[in-house]
């Protein structure tokens, strides 16, 4: 215990100099974890596209892959990384709720069927009533389930949630105790083909609510706009190439542990914003503010905005269409300016 604490302290001491530091610098690190919409970062790293863009702006960008998604966000929040991939909800509940002012630099895609609710031997969503539902508690899946229940006039009181690790959810489904799961791809596509499984609800019914972002530390970004420019420039070069070149997609597929067909199937249920135009249009739309309000309400209800939060608007969220919540405490910003630069060819 003591050793652990001491190690933590030493680690914290060691890193506290660099965390939250807003000075200009020329070395940056970015972390990402394996997910269909984030595989381009892996390709950008291995193909040298990110290095090319970093060189253009005379900076260095270190790209680090995490096997554990939550750990990557925690490390970003602790100040170890300048930017990290995460969903809109986790961006609000982890860094923003810790008052690490964060900017959604790139809105990469939204889940359009990549998340689903599967029932065993039951056919409709209403049958979920009274069941135990296995999912990663307090995750996007949990939010998604709450939205689905709302659509059939139920609430979380009508079910019982069992926290289940995402890595084990496929195996969990095979066990006889488990009758309902909420999960995302690739696990989802392993469960749905089983004869007992019916996917009763998927995220294409609430499109544009589960967003996959590249989130950067706002202060770092402000002090070093070149960092943002290099990342966004690299991203849209990869987007352009991956759309037409199946070889690139094969590389991404292999890196995520599947094959081209499997990866393309996951892409089919993911609405990728291949062009900066799509991303800017989506982000600037009024709907995003509404979505973030839902997310904030859900997060508040589950205590994810911190114990001191008096209401769902405690953490302000800035979107191009307006600020959701407290204007004096904005910690999460959707910023289209960098994507706009890509659109205008100014990178």
């Amino acid at each position: 215990m003591n050793k652990l604490k001491l190690l933590l302290v030493l680690a914290a001491l060691f890193t506290s100099q660099q965390s939250f530091a807003a000075e200009t610098k020329d070395k940056f690190s970015v972390c990402w974890s394996i997910y269909v919409g984030w595989m381009p970062w892996d390709y950008g790293d291995s193909s040298g596209i990110i290095k090319k863009w970093a060189d253009k702006y005379d900076i260095e960008i270190d790209v680090v892959q995490f096997n554990d998604y939550i750990e990557s966000i925690n490390q970003y929040t602790a100040g170890q990384f300048d930017a990290c991939t995460m969903t809109n909800m986790d961006a609000l509940t982890i860094p923003a709720a810790s008052f690490v002012d964060s900017t959604a630099l790139i809105v990469g895609d939204y889940s359009n069927g990549n998340d689903g609710i599967v029932l065993k031997d039951k056919k409709t969503l209403k049958d979920i009533k009274g069941q135990q539902v296995n999912l990663v508690e307090l995750s996007v899946s949990h939010y998604f389930l709450a939205r689905a229940l709302e659509s059939v006039g139920m609430t979380e009181r009508d079910i019982k949630v069992v926290n289940t690790s995402d890595a084990d959810i496929v195996a969990a489904y095979s066990s006889k105790d488990v009758t309902a799961v909420v999960t995302w791809n690739p696990a989802l596509s392993e469960i749905t083909p089983q004869p007992s499984a019916t996917e009763v609800y998927d995220s294409s019914k609430t499109p544009g609510e589960i967003l996959d972002l590249m989130v950067a530390n706002t202060e770092t970004l402000k002090a070093n706009p070149n960092f943002g420019k290099a990342l966004v420039g690299a991203w849209y070069e990869i987007m352009e190439k991956m759309q037409v070149d199946s070889k690139i997609r094969t590389e991404m597929a292999v890196a995520s542990g599947t094959d081209l067909a499997g990866y393309d199937a996951q892409l089919a249920t993911t609405k990728m914003f291949y062009t900066p135009k799509d991303a800017v249009t989506f982000t600037a739309d009024k709907q995003l503010a509404k979505t973030m309000e839902y997310v904030a309400k859900f997060s508040f209800k589950h205590g994810l905005l911190g114990e001191s939060a008096p209401d769902f608007g405690f953490i302000g969220i800035e979107t191009p269409a307006g600020i959701v919540g407290d204007k004096n405490n904005v910690q999460l910003r959707f910023d289209t300016s960098y994507m706009q630069m890509a659109l205008d060819g100014k990178l």
Partner: protein
Amino acid sequence: MKRLMNIEPSPALRGFLTLLPFILALFAYSIASEARLAENPHDKLLPSFTQIVDAVDRYAFTENKRTGEYLLWQDTGASLYRIGLGITISAIIGLFIGLCNGLLPIVRSGLSPFITIISLIPPMAILPILFITFGLDELAKVMLIIIGTAPVIIRDMQSQVMQLPKEQLIKAQTLGASTWLVTLRVVLPQIMPRLLASVRLTLGAAWLFLIAAEAIAAQEGLGYRIFLVRRYMSMDVIFPYVIWITTLAFAMDFSLRKISEVCFPWYHQGAK
């Protein structure tokens, strides 16, 4: 001059030296925590002691708004039940099979190599098989603890029985004791304290498997809570839980040692 190796600290100095690393660790923590909180008052990585106390109050002494229960005690109850059941069953299995293995060559030749192999399988690597066989409920969590600890206890018990002096066993037999009587009067009394010692040593592994099982699928438990709040980096909750787990583990270890000392004073004579 006295050699360094012969200097015995006085009781007061010994007490001070015992406390020193704890104090230093707390001190280093408070400095690091203050430094981080000065940068960002809402930093969650190294919460201040006040924040930690608040969290303890919330989890241990305030009713949860949604469920009306005291979370820490509910978690503790669930976890202690699982680890208690798991380690008790492990000890019984370990004693029984280990004793048979050690005493009866015919059982040993059949079981010993098999158990050696089984004990080397990392339980975490066969999780999917465990889920499918035992489901995801309480049974699976207890089974994970048993699978993780029972083989070790069996092997330990077996070697302890085999280390008993042959002369004792032969003498008992010349006095007319049957296998059953030798087991009951010669072997069992001698390996009981060793069983307690073995259980004490496997407690660490048992906690590890308990936390792992609760991280995978659960609705309550100390491990469940830690992995749940880890999602939003509530170190103010994780630290007290870790300290609490350490305390519980220490208390279990301590009470097993005391039981052993009271029941089998002869076993502890050499150590004093």
